[in-house]
Amino acid sequence: MRFLLLNHIQNAYQSLRSNRMRSNLTMLGVTIGVASITTILALSAGASKVVSDQVDALGGNIAVIRPGASPDDPLQNLTQPKIGREYAASTLTEGDLALVRSINGVSAAAPMMILSGTVKADQTAPDNTPIVATTPEFSDISGLEVRTGQFIDDVINPDTAVVGVQLSINIFGTEDSIGKTLTIRGKSFTVVGILTRMDDPINYNQVDFDTAVIVSLYNGKLLNQGVAQIQQINIKSTSVSDLSQVIIDANKALLSSHNNENDFTILSGDQISRPTSQLFYAIAGVSAAVAGISLLVGGIGIMNIMLVSVAERTREIGIRKALGATNSDIAAQFIIESLAIGIGGGISGYIIGYIFAFGISTFLTFDPVINWQIAAIALFISLIVGTFFGLYPAIRAARKDPIDSLREYN
């Protein structure tokens, strides 16, 4: 009895090899399903890793304040994008900014006012070019580095701007645009600095700084009919251990100045990236469901082929039974065969999935993640598909009557 498993495996190998074309096509069904699941998981893990990596890289002393109460339901987070808020006035004001700055333990705080409008120089920038109005502290808090020139400053001429390197190329045709003039909503600005390329459009500031133009808060207000429309306040505490106290104090101070109206949200650490990663998980979930359907089709393919194989080998089943095979021997033989198809499809699907993921990632700004969880999921899925869809044909094979089987002509 000890060696029976090995025998069944040799047997399955032999019978799969004797029908090579058929086995490979059946395997292909599972391969496609597992490959798409692997691709989706690898890419979505890569995307959410980008966001969490950034938060980690900034250190544990960053918190952001956003207007509006945070919805508790994560699904609502996804289904209610910020579109609605764009038309409403932000509940955060310059007064709030001053209040936060005055809290003990806050080493820096910077507002973010994101505007949209036409940015023009030699060429017009794309419509969705973000215009960020902020204060000089912003570069320190968000880790923006200036490649050439300097960041916006309180002392220099306020009509200056810092541009992202890609925007500089887009509108000036060069990376080196210091001293050149661009117009935002018809107002002229002189470029004083160019940012280092960051290559991460997905970040907690929700702005791709490579294509953004940064102006001072003063000018931001001028462009917005004199009203500060602050979408986010970034806070940096003096040390990591201070952060929780800072958040509590900021919450208190803001609540009292807002007449106890909870119309803002303070986020730190993982919370910052959560809405983004939740969005990715939701997208991944939906596409995984689609991939699951292809896997189901692949599984049905296995069942189909196994049923054909059982019918074809009815006589063989009879012979084997006459020679002393038990029902479970016969069932095991067929189960292992379908399992082999499943696992074979799973392994090739895993490899092809990663080839795909890396291929797609050349067009994206993040890399797919390779971890054991995805490998385990791929293997587990293929095991389940192989067993589940092989079970019925195997049981049918095992239940065949030896005499009827021997009478069969083929």
Partner: protein
């Protein structure tokens, strides 16, 4: 000669096998009584549809009777579970079929090694035993042929090798020469007869009355029960068995042997 005193291997008492229900009811075996002792070579004859093959299937535990008793080695078969029955088929019973029933996608040696699989013997050991067995049947050079590359006689010899590789105590043969010409039939019957001489119990179903001369006991069946039951003198069996393997003029020799007997 201690043969007659050996305990019976197979004991049938009022064995019945019914097919169909209601109007279509039909007894393939209708009150079969039979006792078979170890070392007997039994030829079962009878017209088509008299239940020979059904009997063989029941004896080989491939089928179950619907009534009566079947004791194998003193144990009532109906009390044995399907798993144990498969084990008995694997260890004690060897099947030889009219249509050979080799698995066409396996080579000759793999076919012969097949029954050993279900005994749980390692692959290397299996192939070794199968190879030894094939050499016994002068098929050593055909080990890696596929079944369709063999002649009918060779195929049946492979099938016999397969039936014997487990060293079964009972060999069940269902018209083993039914698909063979007379020369090949003769070779096959020689093999069976040799097996018998080595002490194996053989139960063979046949249509050909000439083949009964190899047997030690001939049973004719009619309508699902025993009609006649004749013991053949062991001397006769011996003389027949002594004939050379590759004798092409088999019928003549047989007549001569018969003529010699008559005056004596």
């Amino acid at each position: 000669m201690t043969k007659p005193r050996l305990p019976p291997v197979i004991e049938l008492h009022n064995l019945k096998k019914r097919f169909g229900i209601g109007d279509a009811e039909h007894y393939a075996l209708d009150g079969m009584d039979l006792t078979i002792k170890k070392g007997e070579f039994i030829a079962i004859m009878g017209p088509s549809g008299c239940g020979k093959t059904t009997l063989l299937n029941i004896l080989g535990l491939l089928d179950r009777s619907t009534g009566g008793e079947y004791k194998l080695d003193g144990q009532e078969v109906s009390t044995i579970g399907p798993r144990r029955q498969a084990r008995i088929r694997s260890h004690q019973i060897g099947f030889i079929f009219q249509s050979f029933n080799l698995i066409s996608r396996l080579s000759v040696i793999e076919n012969v090694a097949l029954p050993l699989t279900y005994k749980g013997i390692t692959r290397t050991k299996r192939l070794q035993l199968a190879s030894d067995m094939l050499h016994n049947f002068h098929l050593g050079e055909r080990e890696y042929y596929m079944p369709y590359q063999l002649s009918g006689g060779q195929t049946q010899r492979v099938a016999i090798a397969r039936a014997l590789v487990n060293e079964p105590s009972i060999i069940l043969a269902d018209e083993p020469t039914g698909n063979l010409d007379s020369h090949a039939s003769h070779v096959i019957m020689q093999e069976l007869s040799d097996l018998h001489k080595r002490g194996n119990t053989i139960i063979m179903v046949t249509h050909n009355p000439r083949l009964t001369s190899y047997a030690s006991r001939v049973i004719t069946m009619i309508d699902g029960h025993v009609d006649t039951d004749t013991m053949i003198l062991p001397e006769l069996v011996k003389t027949i068995a002594k004939r050379p393997l590759n004798g092409t003029k088999k019928p003549k020799r047989k007549k001569r042997a018969a003529k010699k007997k008559e005056p004596a």
